[in-house]
Subunit: 112 residues, 3 copies
């Protein structure tokens, strides 16, 4: 089953809140079982760190089955490792590479 | 015939003007009859309300056949109904759901 | 071989730097020989002019094989011709038209 990738690069808390809401709103709109990934890179990876203002909204999204994918290129630039991420986040070698690979697999792409 | 969806989420008048121009510029570039939809959600739905600074540019886009699609999830959050929208705008249950559905149908996606 | 288009519309130097880095990071993630195009229109076309703060980063991207595609609709609005662009940049009649055409050809789309 092909899924949906949402692409986020900004650091803004307001933007993070909006995109998490967009992702949640998408859940009832797609076939049950459709994977939805929120892919963060560059300044946006702070979303995946503990103690953020968006922690509750992120937890709600993860509980709803949304997958948070964090770019390891961006993590390396900010001296972060997988151990620094919130429980439930996963990392991928390259955010942009991951987004291209998903489209090659037929996934839809959203840049909210 | 598959079409093109343009995705807009920002409230900025300058952004609205630019995206309306992008949509108009696209018309002569696609096969005649290709549907072009401008999908607005979140803060961007003010574009579809009467009395905006972009009213003339929007009227020109609608006259050129561009379809303005407004997210009903966002309308509900802002206490708006279809009766509040400019003549010619249409609504969809979910902006992000609509954008995914269009891509499933083979439409191209632009986020200007 | 289908490629990847990256879409850029903003004028900000910081944004230009980030997107050039995204493009470079993509090179090792795709199959060798995959074309990667950075398509600029609207305010973003200043990236393609000589003497910008991003000149070195752009040169590095062009050296890595990334193709810079500049919208001629936007050039016309800013009284620019091909002769004004940095060596190595190419122009297309319409930025948005080009992005749609590439997706029709199966290319992946990124809006970093």
């Amino acid at each position: 089953m092909t899924g949906v990738v949402l692409h986020l690069t900004e650091a803004s808390v307001d933007k993070h809140r909006a995109v998490l809401r967009n992702a949640l709103n998408l859940v009832p709109e797609v076939e049950p079982g459709t994977p939805i990934e929120l892919v963060v890179h560059s300044e946006a990876i702070c979303l995946a760190l503990p103690g953020q203002a968006t922690a509750d909204a992120l937890a709600e999204a993860l509980d709803a089955g949304i997958i948070l994918v964090v770019c390891r290129n961006s993590m390396r630039q900010q001296d972060l490792t997988d151990a620094d991420l919130v429980h439930g986040a996963v990392s991928a070698p390259s955010g942009v590479g991951h987004l291209v690979a998903r489209q090659r697999q037929g996934w839809a792409y959203l840049r909210p």
